[in-house]
Assembly symmetry: D2
Homo-oligomer: 248 residues x 4
Amino acid sequence: MSEGLRVTIWNEGVHEKTNPKVSALYPKGLGHQLAQYMEQVPGIASVRVAELDDPEHGLTDEVLENTDVMTWWGHTAHDRVDDAIVAKVQERVVQHGMGLIVLHSGHHSKIFKNLMGTSCDLKWREYNDTGEKERLWVVDPAHPIVDGIPEKIELELAEMYGEHFDIPQPDQQVFISWFQGGEVFRSGCCWHRGLGKVFYFRPGHETLPIYHNETILKVIANGIKWAAPTRVAGGIFRGNAEPLEKME
Amino acid sequence: MSEGLRVTIWNEGVHEKTNPKVSALYPKGLGHQLAQYMEQVPGIASVRVAELDDPEHGLTDEVLENTDVMTWWGHTAHDRVDDAIVAKVQERVVQHGMGLIVLHSGHHSKIFKNLMGTSCDLKWREYNDTGEKERLWVVDPAHPIVDGIPEKIELELAEMYGEHFDIPQPDQQVFISWFQGGEVFRSGCCWHRGLGKVFYFRPGHETLPIYHNETILKVIANGIKWAAPTRVAGGIFRGNAEPLEKME
Amino acid sequence: MSEGLRVTIWNEGVHEKTNPKVSALYPKGLGHQLAQYMEQVPGIASVRVAELDDPEHGLTDEVLENTDVMTWWGHTAHDRVDDAIVAKVQERVVQHGMGLIVLHSGHHSKIFKNLMGTSCDLKWREYNDTGEKERLWVVDPAHPIVDGIPEKIELELAEMYGEHFDIPQPDQQVFISWFQGGEVFRSGCCWHRGLGKVFYFRPGHETLPIYHNETILKVIANGIKWAAPTRVAGGIFRGNAEPLEKME
Amino acid sequence: MSEGLRVTIWNEGVHEKTNPKVSALYPKGLGHQLAQYMEQVPGIASVRVAELDDPEHGLTDEVLENTDVMTWWGHTAHDRVDDAIVAKVQERVVQHGMGLIVLHSGHHSKIFKNLMGTSCDLKWREYNDTGEKERLWVVDPAHPIVDGIPEKIELELAEMYGEHFDIPQPDQQVFISWFQGGEVFRSGCCWHRGLGKVFYFRPGHETLPIYHNETILKVIANGIKWAAPTRVAGGIFRGNAEPLEKME
């Protein structure tokens, strides 16, 4: 990967068009906010934004074949994402090693549910006027995703996500969130799926300035670097195999 | 579970009708062979056999709601299993805690692939006239699935399955197979998925007397007991949550 | 294990002699409180209490050889536990499959640190007059340790333990605690170590009536049952191995 | 880590002085053979060799404080390694994030056993005149340690190591070996321990030219890069913690 990673930021892009609170926070869209940060990260060579309303949701074969790591943000229109495109994204991850970073309400996206095999359901609570604090605690300080991150990240105001979060046990649990109202949540979770890597990261509610927070953006950038494709030399063979030559 | 487990043995049941070698080994079908053993296992209260050609593949709502653990053997007709029934089985596992034991070529069943989120592809090789040995080595001797099982199980003649087996890393790796022709395979794998438990166990080729082997049958029985449903008192709540009462 | 489990409750037994608050809560000692509950649990055949001040800390060879599962509570006198006895306990777990349930401040016991290989350090905070709530959330509802347990356990008053808890990633993460003051903690953790199973469970501060809480006691009982020894038939062979007979 | 990794190659260095077969293969010692390769790996800034017979085994405080990743090869003199130095190495891994690559017979080193908490025992068999093949199969093709490595590595002649290998379940299982004589072995295993990462890699018998094999050397180099320290900004606090300010 010496040439640097090619990143595609997938953004649903619906709230930005319908909710003035969201468009005020993210005038060019939540995807562009992420892209702007990622473009200046060393090791990332190129960043493109793709959205639901683009032709083929912006995920043509040409885009998929030229993406090393994809981030996914969706919330209100998961069901409008075409099944055939979801299948292609899943195949890129599992069979070709594309990294996938699933953000916040993306927990209920088709692609995440397909890769997990579970419902990905959870508890939630909108923040209220007096607010609700979140603290993300690092529980695996050896993990490259927390490089340069402090032992906890505090968000003054957050939407709550609570357990039980219906996911397979993460291969690596990186963050666990505390919420003021009484819940915990596995907020940073890593899995390998086939040739690819998947990182779920909770923060990112659309009506809060989460993606203006430098530490949150740095975690996502670290996640992208962690999810870089591995290249097994010669690839993985599947199918009918010859036996080893006769043994003495 | 003091009343004992209610087990459903799902068997594709196609080879038995078309291949005399299979019907010679399993005159009443491979499913009945498993059922016959399980019926006499302490802790198992009842065993039923369901097959592809039964109405609704034998998996009516009434059967599903009265099954604690299901075993699944399929090979040649995975695509004939109805998607709606697969979805129901998956929901029983993830949302209601039904255990699932996936056997041998069931690795390519819809239900297993849906629960894993990966291709579940592998290498394989038919045994030849001079045969091919398999040895299953216990790599997690603390696991209840190997209770009463020796440190290795040797099968004189086996079809080979080899890595890379495209599955998520098992939560617990119980057996690894050695094959005479030069391959290894993760032959006994455990996962939790939502409220349910899943055990994949490799042995079981239809033209070999694998399910006449007492040790193999005992592993499957142990797997059924391990996969018994857990009952979270009051269940798991999903959805919009109230905050903790005001804190001092 | 049809005859039932033989349980040894190891209790440091120092606070009971020096702190009237502790002896008021546990007049016969914290160990006897646990023993009294366990004695009536189906599947547990016998319970004995062993303490630091007993000869050989109550852990003679005869006791160790006749213990299926041991629980361990210590706090103020970890360094007074003899290294040679710790080594024997570790050997019973790893080489003979004895289950070990480590409770609360036992996180800093020699036996736990030896089995983990890490410092087992953590953050802590004594509860104050206005108190501090703890909520233990179930994050693995398929695990047998939460059978019959609700999705969260609330303790009105608890000493806080917080991350980073310096342990190896649990093989299975069962509970995560929320604390009112702003921390989270991996409160219920399972590992296999050799032939044995280890369960760490956080609740149990000596000046609070934690072990009078029926739900907490039930979790410990479930942990004991989960940690029952597995018997690999014929045992595990270590050492210089013969090759397979000449292959064709 | 932009300045590159500082690597210390620890080599027992006893066989080289007593066995002409070993000194013929590794005239300057096995450690120097590894060092020579690592020195030209991009991302590795400096490489030093330390040996048992050096003062303080070559592992002075100054060396330890300036080592990002250490490799460890030992076999015949594990008991001659000073306990106090082992404790320092363990502390560097767990509390300061130094990576550790344990090679071949290092499985029985004090440092590995301390970090694992188990016996680390295994089966073994010396190769004979007609030889014994080993094949290392990649079972986690997404892992950075297999970047540029083929799906299997074949060694014409190898000493056998077989299961049961008494280690905690790896956090990530990268390679599984097949041996001609009938055994399997978990040959490439990754763990996090505190702030540090540990990689065990099996190949490396002293009387065979294993460390002249470019693919084996590349795996070790990949392991070193994977084990690079992570820096939690501000570090991890342990001890008595203040509560969050009063909540509304």
